[in-house]
Amino acid sequence: MSELDKVRREMAAVLQQPGVRPDPSLRITRRTFVHKSCLVGAATVAETFAWWPLINTLDIAHAAEAPFKFAWISDTHLYPKSLNTRFVEKTMRAAKEVQAMSPPADFLIFGGDLAQLGKVEELELGVEILKEVNIRKVFIPGEHDWYLDMGKKWGELFGKPNWTFDHKGVRFVGLDTVSRGPDYWTAKKMSPEERMGHMATLDGTVAGPWAGVGSDQLDWLQKTLANWDRNRPVVIFSHNPLYEYYPPWNFWVRDWREVNEVLKPYTKVTNIHGHTHQVLYNEIGTMRSIGMLATSWPWPYAPEGVPKLTKPMIRVDPGDHFDGVGWAKIDVSAEDKVDAEYVMWRKQVYAQSPDDYAKSIPEVLRPRVADSMWPY
């Protein structure tokens, strides 16, 4: 059994115990239940394609004091304007559309990877473009923002990477899942650019398992939640998913076990994350997890570990740089419901047939070799 299989089995044993689910009041929609009942008997991939709703609807009971919306943008991966205008164009489009929301969103959460290579001019370009949005803005960092200067510029622009606030009956928490990567650069005497380069390579083997919450931040999270009613809703924003999906691409946090320990007592936890650039949905213990689209480019699903509850997004047309990307709006209604809606710019979001879905032919992939053979 591979190392990955062992971890995955352990996760299933620890987190997916019989009877442990997100609080029933957090359920998605009736349509989702139809889908899930199908899953139980689903023998083939094809059968799981037909039922998922276009909108993931979460009920956050006892939550809303008044209806509100908020918006999510992430993974803009801006290069300097002179190098890549497409990413700029798409970030501007997302910003304009968020600003045009009617009624307006209460706030915008930017979920990390504003810059591609952490450069001052890339981060400043992002700030400039997001000036279009004049509602409240909160930011968490992505690894692309961080590893050139170890978060210096990002901190100057956006302040602390982790924070919390209460808004209309919901406790919001922003986590920093990127800054605690193991030191792979000092011993190899890498320049900041080299360090950033390895971090920016999703399938690289040098940067290692950099995604994590860290024990200090977990202590902080525990204290932050200590005075919160365990039956009231908590929404946690993080760049990486808070469960283990595919560690070779850091589609996880390495300390997911400890994160689960801290969150276990709270029955209505929703994690909204970026980094994976794809439609994702999962339930882990009492936590519900939703993956958001990038504005820059979509990533294919990992060769294994895609949560069973995820209905895959449609196979992307590489000839259209507006396909497979976009942003999201999250709508808290008067009935205490929260809808997370993917705003994908090509309107079709989910695969309608197995043929639409890239993984309908399983690919058997190997990790790259050159970065471990090269004399770094």
Binding site: P300, A302, P303, D317, P318, G319, D355, A358, L365, A370
Partner: protein, 151 residues
């Protein structure tokens, strides 16, 4: 007209030659017997191509310069949309490729990606860079099932 080779021919006329070959070994064969050393040498040649292809696929500027190619002018590299070559589906080529609206090989697709999403400069079909990219992509997916023509 040559006589058909029959079992009778093998038995009576070729028998001495067969016996000699068995006794002295394959002296007249056109290659030496394969040894582990030889296999390693072949493998090294292959892996060197894989390594170069890996670097090109991941946008390594030094390798691009050394091989005289410009695979991207947007900062994008192949691996940004295809980590570990995911979603390249080399095993499905050749096939009708919708983006090009023509019957295409993997090499056609590589060039399409270089020219369209990456906005780089097309490379020759038989160039070193093309062979290296192809080597890396096939190597990465060597467990995948051959399925030419599949969408």
């Amino acid at each position: 007209m040559t006589a058909p080779i029959t079992s009778r021919f093998i038995l009576f006329r070729a028998a001495p030659a067969v016996a000699l070959a068995v006794l002295v070994g394959p002296a007249g064969a056109h290659k030496d017997p394969v040894t582990p050393k030889l296999l390693n040498a072949y493998q090294e040649v292959f892996m060197e191509q894989v390594r170069k292809g890996d670097l090109l696929f991941h946008g390594d500027a030094a390798t691009e310069e050394a091989m005289g190619v410009v695979l991207s002018k947007t900062g994008m590299a192949c691996a940004m949309c295809h980590p570990m070559t995911a979603d390249t589906h080399p095993a499905t080529f050749p096939k009708f490729q919708a983006q090009m609206a023509k019957f295409a090989t993997l090499r056609d697709m590589i060039n399409w990606c270089i020219e369209k999403p990456n906005q780089g400069e097309k490379i020759a079909d038989d160039s070193e860079a093309m062979k290296a990219l192809e080597a890396y992509i096939y190597w990465s997916q060597s467990g995948s099932v051959l399925n030419p023509g599949k969408f």
